[in-house]
């Protein structure tokens, strides 16, 4: 191989190839990072997460994804998500929280468990039947000064400790409107 490199032209070609390959590999790895859903307001806990690329709410950009988990039967939960926004989003007024419900085969949980934290001292529990209102923004609640949203793969307060399992719980975009 070394014998092949015996002139300035070959060296330049080698450099250029190395540079291009390096850049391409860098971007490819970084795309995996993008799909890992590492946004600054998103936190996730648990180990049984499933991600579907190119699905879920599309913001108009080229990359998007969708996350789901099988529900936890009985009391408690395994997977948990947080959308926790900075304080400059916390306007002193009533805000409505919406969750995108995608038209996919990965959401059929009728007792999805959501909680909206607000006012710095309280939270509101919500039940989200993910079988209905597909492909739309589903209203979760109206609270004064919302600060964060939490969702789990457990049963909501309406079906506490329900022993049924095997449902798919969707975790997609959350929207805040004043």
């Amino acid at each position: 191989m070394f014998r092949l490199i015996n002139g300035k032209k070959s060296v330049l070609i080698f450099f250029a190839t190395a540079l291009i390959l390096g850049l391409v590999s860098g971007i490819a790895l970084a795309q995996v990072y993008i799909f890992a859903n590492d946004g600054f307001t998103w936190q996730q806990y648990g180990t049984e997460w499933h991600t579907v690329n190119n699905d879920g709410y599309w913001t108009g950009s080229g990359l998007w994804k969708f996350k789901w988990s099988y529900n936890h039967s009985g009391c408690g939960y395994d997977e948990e998500a947080y959308w926790d926004w900075p304080s400059n989003y916390e306007l002193n007024y009533y805000g409505r929280v919406y969750a995108w419900n995608d038209n996919s085969s990965y959401s059929n949980m009728y007792g999805a468990d959501y909680n909206i934290c607000y006012g710095g001292a309280s939270y509101q529990r919500c039940n989200f039947d993910q079988r209905y209102n597909n492909e739309s923004w589903v209203y979760l609640g109206r609270v004064y000064k919302p600060t964060a949203v939490n969702a789990t793969d457990g049963w909501s307060y309406l079906y506490t400790c329900n022993g049924v399992g095997g449902y798919k719980v969707e975790f997609d975009e959350i929207k805040l409107e004043y």
């Binding site: 850049l23 391409v24 590999s25 039940n127 209905y132």
Partner: protein, 277 residues
């Protein structure tokens, strides 16, 4: 030979450097994009909240009560939500102020009674119940249009919520109440299964009756029918505009979900929010 080796080492270093630069640049881009995505739902700075002296006074009272109670009142750490929340008397105090505040904001956002009566009339028609009791729960930005436009929240005593465009009084979304008071009233689709043809007939008939210019929608919008996925029991009939209005992120759409037993379980017509008749 030594020179060639040196060149190869330099090339390898550049190669690794380029890869790292690629990762860094794309990661920065990704984070900036995530940031943008999550900024988008935040309203523009130009929103004028409906307010008055009483609302301002209650807002100040709420802030003061939260501060005082979090400092010296009764609070409990919530393991699930990973923060302290007020409980007992402290919670009651803050909740009472919050309720008053909500009432005042709803009062300030209410339209003249004769206009609101038109909204109620349309909600009752959509619900198929001329005696349905509905309560106005205030207004806020709708989640569909990028351009800020409010819609109104109306709560039915059938545990359904109706969002209405105040400019046209048309119902834009129907869904279940996420905090139902009476679980037995939540709509339930029975085990009875009608054929797809019959379900389609029900959907079309219902839409013709309740959606203005539905024939135009059928002629010009892109139609999709999604049968119930595994574990679900409703058919989704959706008509989506061929393109997004300028500056908008979503295409206007009309859709209805019909349960396998023929029951209407949800409805959307976002056209009024875009000023489409």
């Amino acid at each position: 030979m030594r020179r060639t080796g040196f060149i190869l080492v330099v090339a390898a270093v550049i190669c690794v450097g380029a890869a790292l630069a690629g990762i860094w640049a794309t990661r920065e881009f990704a984070q900036a994009r995530e940031h943008k995505m999550q900024q988008e739902p935040v309203p523009s700075q130009g929103i004028q909240f409906q307010t008055n002296e009483r609302i301002k006074q209650l807002q100040a009272e709420f802030e003061r009560a939260v501060r005082e109670e979090m400092k010296s009142g009764t609070k409990e750490y919530n393991e699930k939500l990973k923060q302290y929340f007020l409980v007992g008397k402290s919670k009651k105090r803050v909740d009472a102020i919050s309720e008053k505040l909500h009432e005042e904001i709803v009062k300030a956002q209410a339209r003249p009674p004769e206009q609101m009566a038109l909204a109620v009339k349309n909600i009752r028609a959509i619900a198929g119940d001329p005696n349905l009791e509905v309560k106005f729960e205030g207004a806020g930005g709708n989640p569909y249009t990028t351009k800020y436009r409010q819609w109104e929240e109306w709560r039915g005593n059938n545990e359904m919520i109706y969002f209405v465009d105040p400019k046209t009084n048309r119902v834009c979304q129907v869904q279940q109440n996420p905090q139902p008071v009476d679980l037995s009233k939540l709509p339930k689709v029975s085990d009875k299964k009608l054929g797809e043809k019959e379900i389609s007939r029900i959907a079309n008939q219902w839409l013709l009756q309740h959606v203005p210019n539905f024939e135009l929608v059928k002629a010009n919008y892109r139609f999709t029918l999604t049968p119930p996925p595994e574990g679900c029991n409703s058919y989704l009939f959706r008509w989506e505009a061929p393109q997004k209005p300028e500056g908008e992120e979503m295409k206007p759409f009309v859709q209805v979900e019909v349960g396998q037993d023929g029951r209407i379980v949800s409805f959307n017509d976002t056209r009024p929010l875009y000023g489409i008749e």
